[in-house]
Structure formats: structure tokens, C-alpha cells
């Protein structure tokens, strides 16, 4: 048979190689796939937006000469001591247990060097992280693992976690192989068992109760520190409005690209909304309540560079938060460990079985030998460098847009490359004045 009578082997779009491998894996093991990270599917994102830059109608600022403010104050609504940060990029909560003590220390070091905050996570506050973090946010999670009033009083802010973008409505699981003596002690559970983190808080059920819970936390901490409420990108308008009603100083909004230490693949990829789709409804809620810029909005979920920072802020965020990107900056998924990744059946850039505790980079592990691979001082420096680069990038864009403060960026500085992103971000499709869903926009 000649070649021109053959057709090229055709892989189904629906049953692609990954899908087929997952069906085979499920059939062999009888258990759903658990992994770390956020959504990996292609989603409408900040890449679908462009800045217009200055032109005849906008006057740019000189790139390296004219100042462009990056400072942000979080918690101005009620707290006696709001959090004052040099840059509007914070480090998201990642637990000791999911991460090694050294990795937590590095996050504290990097954040402090760059003039920003880091956040504890499920499992309590470690001495390494508190010691190295100038500004440390203490999370109050449903599990309350490691929660104690002494640490609460040491915190610079408190973050009540309602949800994570990777798993709105879901709890967490730290598998037994990562439960070392120290992790077990901090969580008051036996060594080696799977530790379930509950999906809802044990002592309040709705925003009316939460308002009282916040009162309790403020009474314990003397009304000094800000209270953040972290919500997943589920129903951003109502979640933000209810967080404000409950008395939040700051709302943290985490879209579905936001990472987790471990949850079901089906959950990560099929529940929640993309970060881009969440920002405008959240800002609407703040504006409708006359609380925009009074209750600060922190956006997280897939922030990778200064352009993402600038775009999130142009859409109305006061600051952003990074988790996955911070881990990569520390050395997660570094190709220098490629041989070790291959032994685990994966490749650098795709490794996400953080829950199994075999991280070649020594970051998401409690294995003493693997942990030695990670130097917290060098890791902290890398994170600090990365944060500074992101800030410089965001400033570059802001100056080119004629702004002397990152917070002066606005939706009018943007256009969209796709109809979907134009609708979500409510900015015009490039080359048009059309914003899908908005009538009579000139």
C-alpha cells in the first residue's frame, strides 16, 4: 500500500494520552489521583490581557528615574497595627508538614528581605518561620492543627481560611509518610497516619457566626492585628460581600490556579473559577459596599511575574499572593534533579506528588536526607531576588502606563486578546471597543 492511501494515526481529542493513562491508572489502583499544585488545564488567564502602554493620550513616566510606589498597607479597617509592606506581593500560606521546616524558614527569609509577609498554613507556627519572618500571618484553619493563643499573639495578622482556589469546599490530607515525630506532635496526632484537615470550621457555620468568631480573635489579640478572610474563587461577589459583612480587614481571593499540598485531581480541575474570572466580581462587591481600598483585596492563583501582578492590580486588587511560584523560586521542580524526577516516573516541571514526601528538591518532604538538599539561606535569597524582579517588572509596566503607584493601574490600561478574557476582565477586546456583556461602552 502506498503512503498516500494511509491516514495518519489520529489521537482522540476527548480520549487523549493523559486521559487514557488516568483511566488505566484508576482501573489498576481503585483510587482517585491525588496531587499537589493548582489547575494545569489551559484557562483564561492574565496572559490573555495586554497593557496598552502610553500613547498620545497617556503620558509615560521615565523607566528608571521617576518613582513608582509599591508600598501597600493591609488591614486599615479595624486593626490598630495594620501590616505595612514594601511590595504588594505576599507569600501564601503553606503548611509545615507539607513543607519542611527549612523551606518554611526560607520563605520567611525571602519575604523579609523583600519587605513582605509570609503565612503559616495548616499545622501551626514553626520557630524557624516566626524567627525569620518580619511579618508573619497566622492562619486559622478548620483543623486548628497547632493553633494556640501564644502563637496567635505573636502573629502580625490572622488569616481565617474559608477556602482554597484549588479545592473550594474541600479539606486537606497529609499522608502518613510525611508525618514525622515533629509534625505529629504539632498536630496532636499519631505518627504515620493520614491526617485529614476538615473542610469546614468546627465552631461556626455562616457569616453571622463568623462575625462573632472574628470578635473573639480580636478580643484575644487586643484588636491590634488585621484579620484576613481567605476565600476560594467560587462565588466571588457574594463571598467577598459576606467577608466584609463578617468584619474582615482584608479579603484574600484564591482562584483555581492556586495550589494545594494535596487533593484530588478531579477536584483541582473541575471545581472553582479561574483567577481572572474572580477579580471583577470581588471588586464589584467592595465598591457596592463602599469598601474598595478600605478593605484590601489580595488576589492569588497563578501569579508568575510582574505583568500578572500589574494586571491583577489594574483590575482592582490591592496586592497579590504567590505560593506555587515561590516554591519554584526556592528550587521546586528544578531540572537539576531530572534524574531523580525520572525515577519517580515524572519530569522536572511536572512533579506534583508532593504529598508522598519524596521531593528530590528537598522542599515538600520531611525526609531528613532529602531535606539536607535544600539550603534555607540560599533559598531565601532566591525568593527575595524573584520578588524584587517581579516588583521591578510591575513598576516598569506601571511607568509605561503613566502611573506613579502600582495602585493607580486601572482596567482602562488593558485590552483583551480573547472574547472570554474580555468578558471576565471587563476590558475591550483588542482592536475593538467591545466588552462582552457590557452595553453602550464607548
Amino acid at each position: 500500500m502506498s503512503d498516500n492511501k494511509k491516514t495518519h494515526p489520529r489521537i482522540s481529542w476527548t480520549f487523549d494520552k493523559y486521559t487514557n493513562s488516568e483511566i488505566r491508572r484508576a482501573a489498576e489502583t481503585g483510587i482517585y489521583d491525588i496531587r499537589g499544585g493548582g489547575s494545569k488545564r489551559k484557562l483564561p488567564h492574565f496572559d490573555d490581557l495586554l497593557f496598552l502602554g502610553a500613547s498620545m493620550s497617556r503620558y509615560p513616566l521615565e523607566g528608571y528615574r521617576e518613582t513608582c510606589n509599591t508600598k501597600v498597607t493591609l488591614g486599615t479597617r479595624y486593626a490598630k497595627k495594620p501590616l505595612e509592606l514594601d511590595i504588594p506581593i505576599t507569600i501564601a500560606g503553606m503548611s509545615f508538614g507539607a513543607l519542611s521546616g527549612r523551606a518554611k524558614e526560607a520563605l520567611g527569609r525571602g519575604a523579609s528581605m523583600a519587605g513582605t509577609s509570609t503565612t503559616t498554613g495548616d499545622g501551626g507556627m514553626t520557630t524557624e518561620e516566626r524567627g525569620q519572618s518580619k511579618n508573619l500571618i497566622y492562619q486559622l484553619l478548620p483543623s486548628r492543627y497547632g493553633m494556640n493563643p501564644d502563637d496567635l499573639r505573636k502573629a502580625d495578622a490572622i488569616e481565617i481560611v474559608i477556602g482554597q482556589g484549588a479545592k473550594p469546599g474541600g479539606g486537606g490530607m497529609l499522608l502518613g509518610q510525611k508525618i514525622s515525630d515533629r509534625v505529629a506532635e504539632m498536630r496532636t496526632l499519631p505518627k504515620g497516619i493520614d491526617q485529614r484537615s476538615a473542610c469546614r470550621h468546627p465552631d461556626w457555620t455562616g457569616p453571622d457566626d463568623l462575625k462573632i468568631k472574628i470578635l473573639e480573635l480580636r478580643e484575644i489579640t487586643g484588636w491590634k492585628v488585621p484579620i484576613f478572610i481567605k476565600v476560594a474563587g467560587a462565588r466571588p461577589y457574594y463571598d467577598t460581600a459576606l467577608a466584609v459583612k463578617a468584619g474582615a480587614d482584608v479579603v484574600v481571593l484564591d482562584g483555581m490556579q492556586g495550589g494545594t499540598a494535596a487533593t484530588q485531581e478531579v477536584f483541582i480541575e473541575n471545581v472553582g473559577q479561574p483567577t481572572l474570572a474572580c477579580i471583577r466580581p470581588a471588586v464589584d462587591a467592595l465598591q457596592d459596599l463602599d469598601q474598595h481600598r478600605k478593605v484590601q483585596l489580595i488576589v492569588s492563583g497563578g501569579i508568575r511575574n510582574g505583568a500578572d501582578v500589574a494586571k491583577a492590580m489594574a483590575l482592582g486588587a490591592d496586592a497579590v499572593s504567590i505560593g506555587s511560584a515561590a516554591m519554584i523560586a526556592l528550587g521546586d521542580n528544578d531540572p537539576k534533579w531530572e534524574k531523580d524526577y525520572n525515577k519517580l516516573g515524572t519530569t522536572a516541571g511536572a512533579y506534583d506528588d508532593w504529598h508522598e514526601g519524596q521531593d528530590p528538591a528537598g522542599i515538600t518532604t520531611q525526609d531528613p536526607e532529602l531535606m539536607k538538599r535544600f539550603d534555607p539561606v540560599a533559598g531565601g535569597r532566591r525568593l527575595s531576588n524573584y520578588l524584587k524582579v517581579m516588583t521591578l517588572e510591575a513598576q516598569t509596566i506601571a511607568r509605561a502606563s503613566g502611573k506613579n503607584d502600582l495602585h493607580n493601574l486601572e482596567p482602562e490600561d488593558l485590552c483583551a486578546l480573547t472574547v472570554e478574557s474580555a468578558a471576565m476582565a471587563r476590558v475591550p477586546l483588542a482592536g475593538t471597543n467591545w466588552i462582552p456583556g457590557i452595553k453602550n461602552k464607548k
Binding site: R144, M147, L189, R196, D203, D209
Partner: protein, 227 residues
């Protein structure tokens, strides 16, 4: 010292108790007119005795450390939540989530406790002279719960290493919670807690012991129907 919630604000009263005047060294307080106030006596962290005369709202004695707190009335949601040490004694009934996530200390409830009593408890001892509602000791990690009355549905669901003792009936046990053999050390534990709670007319061997079957400690697909 008498503290009147009609004359002083919640913040003033909590601040007084959280920052004791060491020169006066007054460690005996009576709070009057609580009128259902929330977060009353939250975050106390020194040895002292506080008597609250009346009913209180949510989170009374929250995160308590060292203080001995008596509430001569009923309490709202989350009394003594996340308590670390000390004693909270409720002379009336308690709403839901009493002693939630608490790491230590003793919570005594003379009346009944509503649902989720001792949820995610992490070391506290809880003695309820009446009955407890559904889902009590849910995901309880450590500590002891003694119930002199009955327990509602799904007692001890998904619990870890906490010990539960119930004198009356149990409507149903939650996932992975089973009745366990009572040994002398358990009888001693009950006896000690009854004594601390000034309960004299009940014998330890009137109780049944419940704990974790430990079948769900590590995920196994064959146990999926248990969840």
C-alpha cells in the same frame, strides 16, 4: 473585684482580665449582667477565678489558659473552644461545639451539651452531667469525654485517639467508632474526672467506653463505604 457589663464594655473587661494588675494581685472576679455577651473571658492566660453570673453568648472562655471560669447560666456556641489549660465550669446548658479543638484543661457542663460537643478535641477533658447532641467528638484527636446522660447520632465519627465514656444510651456510632473494652486505667480516668467535677452518685463502671477502630487511619479503597 466586681465587673459589671452594664457599666463597662466587653473590651474593658477582657482587657482587665487579660492584663492583671500585678501590684493589686487581685485574682478573684465576679462578672455581672453578661446578658449573652459574646467572647467574654476569651484569651485569659493567668491563674485566676472568674464567676460569671448569668447567661453568655458564643466563645466564652475561648482559648483559655490557666484561668478557672464558672458560668452560672447557659452558654452559647463554642464555650472553651481551643482551651489550652485551666477549667471552665458551666452550671447550665451548652450550645454546640463546646470545647471544640481544645488542647487541654477541663470543661464541666452541669446540664446538656448540644451537637458537636468536643469536635476535633486535642487533649481536653470534658465532663457533661447531662446528654450530648449529634456528631459529638467528631474527629476527636486526643483527650477524654465523659457523658453521664445519653449521646446523639454519630458519636465519635472519624475519631482518632480520644477516649469517650457514656453512661446512658448512644443513638448511633459514627464511622470508625466502636465500643471498646473497659480496663482499670479507664475506670481510674473516669473516677478522677467525676471527682474533679464533684459528681458523687455515679460509679465509673456504669459507663461504656468508645474509641477508634483505627481502620480509617490510612486510606484504603476497600473501606470507602465507611466514609
Amino acid at each position: 473585684m466586681k465587673l459589671d457589663l452594664k457599666k463597662k464594655k466587653l473590651r474593658e473587661i477582657n482587657n482587665t482580665l487579660q492584663n492583671l494588675d500585678n501590684k493589686k494581685n487581685d485574682r478573684d472576679f465576679v462578672i455581672i449582667n453578661p446578658e449573652g455577651s459574646h467572647a467574654l473571658c476569651a484569651g485569659l492566660n493567668q491563674e485566676m477565678k472568674v464567676l460569671i453570673k448569668g447567661h453568655v453568648g458564643y466563645y466564652c472562655g475561648g482559648m483559655n489558659q490557666k484561668a478557672y471560669l464558672t458560668i452560672d447560666g447557659n452558654v452559647g456556641t463554642g464555650v472553651a473552644e481551643n482551651m489550652m489549660s485551666g477549667t471552665v465550669h458551666v452550671k447550665g446548658n451548652a450550645s454546640q461545639s463546646a470545647g471544640a479543638t481544645a488542647h487541654g484543661g477541663l470543661l464541666i457542663i452541669d446540664g446538656d451539651a448540644s451537637s458537636r460537643c468536643g469536635i476535633s478535641m486535642k487533649g481536653i477533658d470534658i465532663v457533661v452531667k447531662g446528654s450530648v447532641g449529634h456528631m459529638s467528638a467528631f474527629m476527636a484527636q486526643s483527650g477524654t469525654m465523659v457523658v453521664c446522660g445519653d449521646a446523639g447520632e454519630a458519636l465519635g465519627d472519624s475519631l482518632y485517639e480520644a477516649d469517650i465514656f457514656v453512661k446512658g444510651s448512644v443513638k448511633s456510632l459514627g464511622a470508625d467508632c466502636i465500643e471498646k473494652k473497659m480496663e482499670k486505667k479507664h475506670l481510674d480516668k473516669i473516677s478522677n474526672l467525676l471527682k474533679k467535677s464533684e459528681i458523687k452518685n455515679i460509679k465509673p463502671d456504669n459507663f461504656k467506653r468508645y474509641g477508634s477502630a483505627r481502620k480509617l487511619y490510612n486510606f484504603n479503597i476497600d473501606n470507602v463505604s465507611s466514609y
